[in-house]
Amino acid sequence: MSAESSPKIVIVDESPIRAAILEEGLREAGYTGVVHISEMQSLLARIYALDPDVILIDLENPSRDVLEQMFQVSRAVRRPIAMFVDQSDAASIQASVEAGVSAYIVDGLKKERIKPILDLCISRFNAFAKLQDELDRTKSALEERKVIDRAKGILMKVKGLTEEEAYVLMRSTAMREKKKIGEIAQSILTASELLK
């Protein structure tokens, strides 16, 4: 069985970037059999065709419930999965759910071989979330910068101030009113729209 050399891993994720980050991490760690599924139609049939040992799925994916079906034996499911059935797995479940990912292990793969895959997956998901968060913050900082520049322009024009004076005025107002400078700038833009 191929699982003795390198277990076959399927990543079910509609986010191509996150899947690529995870796939790369797994390959670097020496897991060569990694396949990414981004299309949710006939998911179960595709998984059975690939016959993986481990399935990783992001928690934003409604198709996670489809995978739960693999615990059952029926016409649709001939090879059930078994995992996380003893209480010692609670910590793994907690860490993975918090990271936003879940793992399904097909019966037969040894527990000690699963742990490094799951740990890697959790750290890559957390890294992706951090990246996303930084990106969002950079975006909003850029937005704020634009708003402040426009407000500065308005103050310079209406009150005949220099750029420096306009900025100092906004900053001192923000301190006095215990607000962020971005909020003061936004109020200036709103007021100037209203007074047009």
Binding site: S42, S63, L67, S74
Partner: protein, 388 residues
């Protein structure tokens, strides 16, 4: 002082009592500051409740039982002080399967025995002609939808594990899957049946209340350990949900309730569709035919809110019948212990309420359900994975 709570839900009409409790201020009036978290899968709701990311959840009643028994996942005892809804599911079939069943039917199309026997003839014909087996969608292995579909088709002689395919599909994918032929039918809660009919891709064949007169559907679920440490908060949450359920059941409030529920961060479908569901007045055929039933979905009325341990026993019996677990007296006791009428009674200030006010199950076939003799009950059904 207000108590902050995080509560998970799936956007379905049977989450109404929970959503209205929060959005109409019943929870705040009880001193609760609830953040509702909309989720995309039952597995997520279960896991986040189990590990403590949620304090409470809108949960499939069978999932609460499975979690308490450690079936399919780690064992985390769950208790339900409130039943968010009785009934509310429907079986919807493609126009082609509808036509096939109607051409085979001998009797009333509203009689589930007549439709199940007709289905058995359709299945037999398909087998003879070498056609693929029919595929039925349902929402989760431990779901009322799974058990209701199985109960119905098995009564007509169709073995749900051998004669057809039963597949799990997330509710939002049901309608598309019916339209593109991936499934021939499905059993799901509101609003998805109505949406399939409105789009002309499905016929509602049965309300789940045709199959079982009274069936626990979703519960308000909390961890047992949490309930023991937070009994007053739980009582307050139970009261808020009960008051919201009362509000929804008054016909003059329905339009307002439907409007609140329709918002994108809640259920996110047309208010009109939600109101049809709450009123039990559903379009069942693309040609516009309506069907009304006072039993379609019960939110609070007829004592629906009070958890009934006999309902939990019935669900456990289905798990046994279909081979999801074996029959064990201690497991039955655990299952029944998930549904906690006394927590409801205490919350509502009626600690002396009678403890044996079971409304029964009212299945369309088989003997009356008796939680004290599940083996005897199951022996009455020919098809099943259970061996005595």
């Amino acid at each position: 002082m207000t108590t902050p709570l995080r509560i998970g839900f799936i956007p379905l009409v049977d989450a109404s009592a929970l959503i209205i409790a929060v959005d109409k201020g019943f929870a705040a009036a009880e001193g609760l500051d609830v953040t509702l978290v909309r989720e995309v899968s039952w597995s997520n709701v279960r896991d986040k409740l189990n590990i403590g990311m949620f304090d409470a959840a809108h949960l499939l009643a069978p999932v609460a039982i499975a979690s308490s028994l450690g079936l399919g996942h780690i064992k985390v005892p769950i208790v339900a002080p409130f039943n968010l809804g009785l009934n509310g599911n429907a079986i919807t079939v493609s126009p082609a399967l509808h036509a096939a069943i109607m051409s085979e039917i001998d009797g009333d199309a509203l009689d589930p025995m007549a439709t199940a026997l007709a289905l058995a003839r359709v299945v037999a014909k398909r087998r003879k002609s070498g056609a693929d087996p029919l595929t039925f969608g349902m929402t989760f292995p431990f779901s009322t939808h799974n058990y209701q579909l199985r109960f119905w088709m098995a009564a007509g002689g169709v073995d749900p594990d051998e004669d057809v395919r039963l597949v799990v599909l997330p509710p939002p994918y049901m309608v598309d899957s019916l339209a593109n032929g991936q499934v021939d039918a499905f059993c799901v809660g509101a609003p998805w049946n109505s949406i399939a009919v409105d789009l002309g891709v499905g016929h509602i064949l049965h309300f789940s209340s045709d199959i079982l007169v009274r069936a626990a559907e979703k519960v308000l679920a909390v961890r047992q350990s949490w309930s023991e440490k937070n009994s007053e908060v739980l009582a307050a949450l139970t009261r808020a949900a009960a008051k919201a359920a009362d509000f929804i059941e008054h016909p003059e409030n329905r339009a307002e309730a439907a409007h609140i529920l329709a918002r994108p961060q809640r259920i996110g479908v047309d208010a009109e569709v939600i109101q049809r569901t709450l009123d039990g007045r559903l379009k069942v055929s693309p040609d516009g035919a309506l069907r009304e039933s006072s039993r379609y979905l019960l939110v609070g009325r007829e004592g629906a809110g009070r958890p009934d341990p006999a309902q939990a026993a019935w669900l456990y019996a289905q798990m046994v019948r279909w081979g999801q677990t074996e029959m064990r007296p201690d497991a039955l006791r655990t299952a029944m212990g998930v549904f906690r009428p006394e927590l409801y009674d205490t919350a509502m200030g009626r600690p002396d309420a009678s403890s044996d006010s079971s409304g029964g199950i009212g299945a369309f076939v088989g003997p009356a359900f008796n939680p004290d003799d599940i083996a005897g009950h199951l022996a009455a059904f020919k098809i099943g994975r259970w061996k005595p």
